[in-house]
Symmetry: C2
Subunit: 265 residues, 2 copies
């Protein structure tokens, strides 16, 4: 059967896969995987291959983007191809094109969802899902851009929280840290002076969302710059208006200073 | 060990559970489950209990909200309790309080994420994740409120997409349909006349996200009102500004009229 099934791997390790996803792999003719849109720090390939009873073929960004996923589409001409993607398959938009191309040449496509960093972070923080505005990625300082700052500012004006994904460079195994993200944003603060990212701005830092040992810390930027979050990957939330129940959650789950209860009531 | 582990069940059926979630259930002393924040249409309890080797105890909204989850907290005094929740455990905010209460009395809590309707819908549509603004729930017509209309209007002004969850009443097995949602929103349109929800507004309707057979249909409201989406549950997206790649995705995955390519380029 000509078929290309996009399967989300979820976060952190091989156990974030769903039962449905595992079944798809077991019945596939060929299994490809990419790890360039996101890293899975505790993923054990050997254990994963034993679990699935399948050999996994890795695909680079180059093969997918420059060659338009030719080898996946070629394999799908002859049978069922499973393409494993960290998180949820299309939260990173880079695979949408591949799916469109497959459908155009008559290859049937399906999606088996995986846990996305987006919902994991919202869920861990205890902040209210419907109070999040637009999401943004904070880039490495050498590609300094105003967008993340402007998105946080716009959301704040509307009372909304901003989820910031922090950039990563997979081939170099390089992660933007929470402190580096503050620095990137503070450069724009110095230019725009809108008091969006100052030492006493309230933030929530998250490390290793989706793992068994995530670290959360809510506080003022001043506090978080001296906090040790441990190993990557990292994310940040810039809260907008806080409901008292959200403050309670930040105190309970993210070790926010108790003075938060007085400040936001 | 005094422990309360919140495990997300994902969407639709028992196969949306992660391998990590299954392991947590197998090693639990007691397993509770709720199905009132969301329904899992194809969930087979008997098969699920065989899979886990555990008896599942169901919890009603009343027990959780009026009695503050007393029975779960009481059980956690004596061992490891797993609480199964559809989707991701804290995307519905109703369980955040239970988690706070548990931590306060010294019960350790952990979160095992599940697939959330939020990321599944974004992923299926092929629309760009970072272009979604605030999310909103459209209620049944008898609780008509301006909020959903205002959220769509605000997002549109910013060029952003709006994800609308459609209300459900679990005890009555009642789902708001896509047509009913239009009617609820059109009542506000008549009052406010901002041309946010008109017969030629572009929308994307989604039925059964997360199942093996989701239905997507993009088009004008006029087209969607005569479209048969099949069984529930339903969701809606009101797109903001569309990138040509997003239009391509809507034509490929959501059967959007080809004239979309001319309208949005």
């Amino acid at each position: 059967m000509k078929e290309l099934v996009f399967v989300g791997l979820g976060l952190n390790d091989e156990f974030g896969l769903t039962l449905k996803g595992l079944e798809e792999i077991k019945t596939a003719d060929v299994v490809f995987m990419e790890t360039y849109t996101s890293r899975m720090p505790d993923f054990n390939l050997q254990h994963f291959e034993e679990l699935c009873g399948k050999k996994i073929q890795f695909i680079t960004r180059q093969v997918l983007e420059e060659e338009n996923g030719k080898c996946l589409l070629a394999a799908a001409e002859f049978g069922k191809v499973v393409f494993l993607v960290p998180g949820d398959p299309f939260i990173a938009t880079t695979h949408v094109t591949l799916r469109i191309d497959a459908e155009k040449i008559g290859v049937r496509t399906r999606v088996v969802h995986g846990i996305s960093i987006m919902s994991a972070i919202v869920s861990l923080s205890g902040l209210h899902n419907y109070k999040f505005g637009k999401t943004v990625t904070v880039p490495f300082p050498e590609t300094s851009a105003e967008t993340p700052y402007n998105v946080i500012a716009q959301n704040k004006k509307l009372g909304l929280h901003t989820l910031c994904l922090l950039d990563l460079r997979e081939p170099e195994n390089r992660y933007l840290t929470i402190n580096q993200a503050f620095k990137t944003l503070q450069i724009i603060e110095e230019q725009k002076q809108e008091k969006i990212v100052t030492p006493d701005t309230v933030v929530v830092g998250i490390a290793r969302a989706g793992s068994d040992y995530p670290t959360l810390k809510a506080g003022f930027i001043n506090d978080l710059t001296v906090f040790d979050f441990g190993p990557p990957p990292y994310s940040l939330i810039f809260p907008g208006d806080l409901h008292f129940m959200e403050v309670d959650a930040l105190v309970s789950f993210a070790d926010a200073p108790v003075e938060f209860k007085r400040l936001f009531k």
